[in-house]
Amino acid sequence: MGKQEDFVLRVIEERDVRFVRLWFTDVIGSLKSVAIAPAELDGAFAEGIGFDGSAIEGFARVYEADMLAKPDPATFQILPWRGEGPATGRMFCDILMPDGSQSYVDPRNVLRRTLARAAERGFTFYTHPEIEFFLLESRPVGGEPPVPVDSSGYFDHTSQGQGHDFRREVITMLESMGISVEFSHHEGGPGQQEIDLRYADALTTADNIMTFRVVVKEVALSQGSYATFMPKPFTEYPGSGMHTHLSLFEGDRNAFFEAGSEYQLSKTGRAFIAGLLTHAAEITAVTNQFVNSYKRLAGGGEAPSYVCWGHNNRSALVRVPMYKPQKGNSTRVELRSIDSAANPYLAFAVMLAAGMRGIEEGYELPRGAEDDVWSLTEAERRALGIAPLPQNLYDAIAVMERSELVAETLGEHVFDYFLRNKRAEWDEYRRQVTEYERARMLPVI
């Protein structure tokens, strides 16, 4: 047993930890948790904890059910909302096969594999997400419209202060778990919040996003409200995106930066963007994985619907933020389609793979879009060569289904399961009769 493991065992003793939660993520991005007693930890570190994979969405099938969850001691944290003495700890797990090899069904492993491929070319992938979500007055009851906790707008300092206190507590908790917060503010819609996590390597960021969602939900519950990461809970307000800033580093050098070039963007950076654009439609089913995700993309405003890039253009799919002089290492690109309900492991994996393909194949970056693409006419967009993103989950599945890039990145098992799951979601959705249809038709037909 290594020092890190020893450290965990010592902390458990010192802080009177009675339960340790082992966390992992299913293919759709739901957090799964197994609680074990500290006495079982030695075994868990050495061999992993056996569990029945068939109970987990997308895990079983290819290989039989027996799998091992092996905790990563570097991720050990005390859960702050569970209180002290006795306390509860948590660790993220890697999913292993009974022979100790990494499992192809584990989203964390999908991302690890993709990162390893980039590392072979000398790149480390960093991400920095801006996570939006809504705070509602109470847990929604089926059929009733949700009520946001306030009616403020972008950057408002709300007088009731509920959102403010809320954000403060969330940030305190996150930082106590070692997750740095860059920025937080009230977003455009009533009750809508945004919290930006500090940039970190993509695997750490994905772990942090999973933790973040739990923390936000826990804090909301403790304050008598309810938090949701649903991409578009309100027809009339903007949806919750997760704009994500991406950068590649070669050692400690930002590979996107080149002094003196346009927007200080290197050839590598330009090819990476070209990759993101070329494969944008194929990866949309992963970055925007629910029927509801496409309601956000259709809504205009900050959500992109068209495949183009621009410098500080908030309607573009990929934005190159303003370059800050003296900060060559901050050069980055922002993907704006991804929403807060994505599985961060899979989403980061396909984003990286798309960009890397651009670098490997030397894609040429098309001209940037300077206009607000929403305001252009269909014909103008066609003239400029700007294609739409898939308009709904069905279209997105159809494009992804033909994508070798996505299949290679996710691995065949996850690829297949994901498509089946999403087709089922679409089939179920198609059969729904909505409030909208009743309101439009019942009175007149």
Partner: protein
């Protein structure tokens, strides 16, 4: 007057011709040039010449001497005088100049440096590391650093070549030189950086050969930098300064200047390799090694040693990380990592150089070092005596502790020393980093002489080298496996023995899942004083290694024990295994991979003799097989005896095919043809026996002509290990025979044939399946040709036409078979192709099959037969094309799937990409199905889920150990691509 050969120096001066002759006799290759050179230097032909003649390359030595004296100008006289006065100087200079062109160059550049070799006590003086460092740190710039370094090297080379030093002392001193040079370079770097340098402490840790004090004359010097802020300095500033210092230090050593370069400094073994920061703090290093480090990184730390800069800091670093090294063997994935590392070592070998490579490759220096390190990691946790960085010392410690046999340890140590010495001499010549032994005679000769071979230097060198290589070749067997036998040996022994606990640990590290059982098997196999036990003791160390490279080492060892017991006291086979390395290796791989082949072998251990040579594992010609089978059957009157004999032959042939397949000699199509040949011969022999039996019963010749038609995979010559033989029986009454009598007799033959081949017995049964006949199981087993004709004319279903696509001759009346196949042609290649409705019907049936045939709970993605993109998908696709277009495209009229597919591509019925996708998936699925049968010994149509079985199947499909996950992923991808082609060709189009 001519002096005796042995005393050339005493020869008086003679004429020009004889002077040249004397130089030739002295051993100069170009005597005339040497003589001219020697005369030009103005030295007498006395003892000094004798010393130069003894140099490794006397011609080179004289050439260099000429250059040195010319360069010395007016000072040359002093050197000349010194040479005539001092035997020691002359000897040392001659040896250095004759062994190293590079040091000759140095002396030609700096002639005054000859004084380095002048000290009379040089041979007996060993400089301390501190003295070396002091001399090197006194240099004021990179040029002078290089010169100082070479001066020290000059002295070292002289002592080395004079035979005053053991090879490990030379290596140790070279490491001191490297450390001193780094110290000197760091001092220069600090001066260049100025004030900022004061903000940091920087320690340099040597890794690899430099760390272990076993450096070569020229190799990369592996280092790692650790830094801390100086008191009062900010960490960020300190790290910046330290990084600049480290980079400058490396540059100063490895950069090219007027004085050339020292050696490349390699910091690539640091955390995160070249992608990581060049310098880290102590805490940052520790965090990395705690959390992220891989097994090979711990292996690198095994040799860590503080060498330069802030020694206190560097020592703190090595103290902090060294405990981690010894827990590395307990980390998850250690075994897999080690196996992967070893593969990398072997893979790096450039083809073509293998024979002349000292370092890489099996049995090379790297292999010895790696094997020793692995044993240290495995046993070093429990035994602190093994914690030494130096390869030879570690080998000695392993030997003393009984972890390696005493004789093996000594012999390997000697071989390693020899190879290292050879490497030193090789590199000294041009001070280049090379490990390839030259092949031209002159170079070999010089190299041989530098090692002290004098009478036939080139040949003696090659002989000695080959003898040592033989010693090293079975390195793993000696180091890893042979000592395991001592752990179970009951014989009293003087030597230290491997304890059972250590043996278990080692077996586990080598990949045995149940070390306790393995030890029991070893005990049973090697115990006692029988001849068998003695042979097995000789055989097992190598076998254990081969088992460990296969998917299931435990099964291999158990299988070998069972086989040994089955062979009993027939030592012949065991002796053959011992004496023919290749067959034992094949046997080991086979037993540790394939239950199917293992089971065949247990029933007939004598088939072991097939493993001796590749040719014996190639499938035999089908016609010859059939003839042999029929002959053997014909020797028995009783049909059961006849078929029992045939089935024993079949078992041997099946073993041959399986063993050839497992040895990688056959591709999946060849396996299909070979298995079809065996089945055909078997059916033919059984058909003859059944016919004879029925004729005996009815007391007359059969009143009917009878033929057996092959269908399915048998018809297509694509049989798998687990396939049934799909057949149809057709007969035609002979003229004058009654229809009923003919029908009865034919049915009796068919029934008898099936019974005989299905009888329970020790040999695998062959199930003869006639369910594809008209009306299936409801229909008569045998029909007359005219009955088939009227049936197919009136009733034929789509699936029957489909089944007939693969009809081929199998056994019985050839002329009748021909007429049956012509009849079948009309059904399977319908003259106008298929009507739309027929196509739709076939598609509908396929859709139903897809929905219903897949067993409950089976995963459609991994079912190789009925799953998506599986065999049925592909075969139906090809068959539909045949039914629709074979009337027009003659090449489509073939019972073979791939042949039909290629024909379809040639006329554009499928495009290139579709054809490739379908063929690849068909081959892979067929391969997987065969591999599953080989591994499990029972047929199954899904990718196995049990990890070892999955690993074994992956390996048989060409993947390596630990790549089972990638194999699964590749299978799914291949099947998905095939499915896309099926969608395009079968379901539409």
């Amino acid at each position: 007057m001519t002096a005796p050969d042995g005393n050339p120096a005493a020869a008086p001066r003679q004429g020009r011709i004889s002077a040249v002759g004397r130089f030739a006799r002295l051993g100069f290759a170009d005597a005339s040039a040497a003589e001219t050179g020697w005369r030009s230097v103005g030295l007498p032909d006395d003892a000094v010449l004798g010393l130069f003649a003894q140099a490794a390359d006397p011609d080179l030595a004289v050439r260099s001497l000429v250059r040195v004296l010319e360069a010395a100008g007016p000072a040359a006289e002093e050197l000349r005088t010194a040479l005539t006065r001092s035997d020691g100087l002359a000897r040392r200079l001659a040896m250095v100049l004759g062994a190293s062109a590079a040091l000759g160059d140095h002396l030609a550049r700096h002639p005054e440096d000859w004084r380095e070799l002048a000290a009379e006590d040089l041979d007996d003086t060993r400089p301390t590391a501190a003295a070396i460092a002091a001399e090197l740190t006194a240099a004021g710039d990179p040029d002078r650093l290089r010169r100082s370094y070479r001066r020290l090297l000059l002295r070292l080379a002289a002592r080395d070549l004079g035979g005053r030093l053991e090879v490990d002392d030379v290596a140790g001193e070279l490491a001191d030189l490297a450390a001193g040079a780094l110290e000197g370079a760091l001092r220069l770097a600090r001066e260049d950086l100025g004030n900022a340098a004061a903000s940091c402490r920087l320690g340099i840790v040597g890794l690899g050969k430099c760390g272990a004090r076993e450096l070569n004359y020229v190799s990369d010097v592996d280092v790692l930098f650790v830094a801390e802020p100086a008191p009062g300095a900010a960490e960020a500033d300190a790290l910046k300064a330290a990084t600049a210092l480290a980079a400058a230090t490396m540059r100063i050593c490895s950069g090219q200047t007027r004085e050339g370069t020292l050696w490349p400094v390699d910091a690539g073994l640091r955390p995160e390799g070249d992608a990581g920061p060049l310098v880290r703090t102590l805490a940052s290093h520790r965090a990395y090694y705690d959390r992220w480090a891989k097994t090979w990184e711990f292996q690198a730390l095994l040799k860590a040693r503080p060498i330069a800069g802030d020694m206190e800091l560097a020592t703190t670093f090595t103290d902090a990380v060294s405990p981690l090294v010894w827990s590395a063997a307990d980390r998850a994935g250690f075994v897999a990592d080690v196996q992967a590392m070893r593969r990398r070592v072997v893979d790096e070998l450039p083809a073509g150089e293998a024979q002349r490579q000292l370092k890489l490759g099996p049995g090379g220096l790297r292999d010895v070092e790696f094997a020793v390190q692995l044993l240290q990691l495995v046993h070093g946790r429990a035994d602190k005596a093994l914690r030494v960085p130096h390869t030879l010392q570690a080998l000695a410690a392993l030997t003393a502790g009984g972890y390696v046999g005493r004789d093996d340890g000594t012999a390997l140590g000697a071989a390693y020393r020899f190879l290292r010495t050879l490497e030193h001499r090789l590199q000294l010549r041009r001070l280049r980093r090379t490990h390839v032994v030259p092949s031209d005679d002159a170079a070999l000769r010089a190299l041989g002489r530098s090692l002290g071979f004098t009478s036939r230097p080139a040949q003696e060198l090659v002989d000695a080298w080959q003898a040592q290589a033989r010693e090293v070749r079975r390195l793993h067997e000696k180091l890893f496996y042979r000592p395991l036998l001592t752990a179970v040996a009951a014989l009293p022994s003087e030597q230290a023995r491997l304890s059972p606990e250590a043996a278990r640990r080692r077996l586990e590290a080598l990949g045995y899942a149940d070390p306790a059982a393995a030890l029991r098997h070893l005990e049973a196999l090697t115990g006692g004083v029988s001849r068998r036990a003695a042979i097995q003791r000789a055989l097992l160390p190598a076998m254990l290694g081969w088992f460990a490279e296969a998917p299931d080492p435990d099964a291999g060892l158990l299988g070998f024990r069972r086989l040994s017991e089955a062979l009993g006291n027939s030592h012949g086979y065991l002796r053959m295994l011992r004496d023919e390395g290749a067959s034992a290796q094949r046997l080991a791989r086979l037993l540790a991979t394939s239950r199917y082949a293992g089971d065949l072998l247990m029933r007939a251990p004598e088939a072991t003799d097939l493993l001796a040579r590749d040719e014996m594992l190639l499938p035999r010609d089908g016609a010859a097989l059939a003839m042999e089978f029929e002959e053997v059957a014909g020797r028995h009157d009783d049909p059961v005896d006849a078929v029992t004999a045939v089935r024993a032959l079949r078992r041997r042939e099946l073993f041959r095919v399986a063993a050839g397949d497992l040895s990688g000699l056959l591709d999946v199509e060849q396996v299909g043809r070979a298995l079809t040949g065996v089945a055909t011969a078997t059916v033919r022999a059984a058909f003859a026996a059944a016919t004879a039996e029925v004729e005996r019963q009815i007391g007359e010749r059969l009143p009917s002509r009878l033929a057996v038609i092959g269908l399915g995979r048998l018809g297509g010559a694509e049989l798998a290990y687990g396939s049934d033989a799909d057949v149809l029986f057709v007969h035609e009454p002979v003229t004058g025979a009654g229809d009923q009598a003919a029908q009865d007799a034919s049915t009796a033959v068919a029934t008898e044939l099936r019974r005989l081949l299905a009888l329970p017995g020790p040999d695998p049964a062959l199930s003869v399946d006639a369910d594809l006949r008209p009306e299936g199981r409801q229909g008569p087993l045998v029909r007359s040709l005219s009955s088939y004709e009227s049936y197919y004319r009136r009733w034929s279903h789509g699936w029957e036409a489909q089944a007939l696509l693969r009809a081929s001759p199998l056994a019985g009346d050839g002329e009748l078979t021909g007429r049956f196949l012509r009849l079948a042609d009309a059904v399977r290649y319908p003259a106008a192709g298929l009507a739309e409705a027929d196509v739709a019907e076939i598609r509908r049936v396929k859709a139903r099959v897809d929905a219903e045939r897949l067993p409950r709970g089976a995963d459609p993605a991994t079912h190789v037969k009925l799953g998506r993109g599986g065999l049925a998908d592909i075969e139906w696709t090809v068959q539909l094309l045949q039914l629709r277009f074979a009337h027009a495209v003659a090449a489509l009229r073939t019972p073979q799937t791939l042949a039909a597919l290629n024909a379809a591509r040639e006329v554009g019925l499928v495009d290139e990409q579709q054809c490739t996708a379908l063929a690849a998936a068909w081959r892979l699925a067929s391969r997987v199905r065969n591999a599953v049968m080989l591994v499990r010994g029972r047929p199954a149509d899904v990718l196995p889920t049990e990890p070892r079985e999955r690993a074994a199947v992956a390996m048989l499909c060409g993947y390596r150990l630990g790549e089972a996950g990638r194999f699964g992923d590749d299978y799914l991808r291949t099947a998905r691509h095939a499915r896309a082609a099926v969608d395009a060709v079968f379901w539409s189009g």
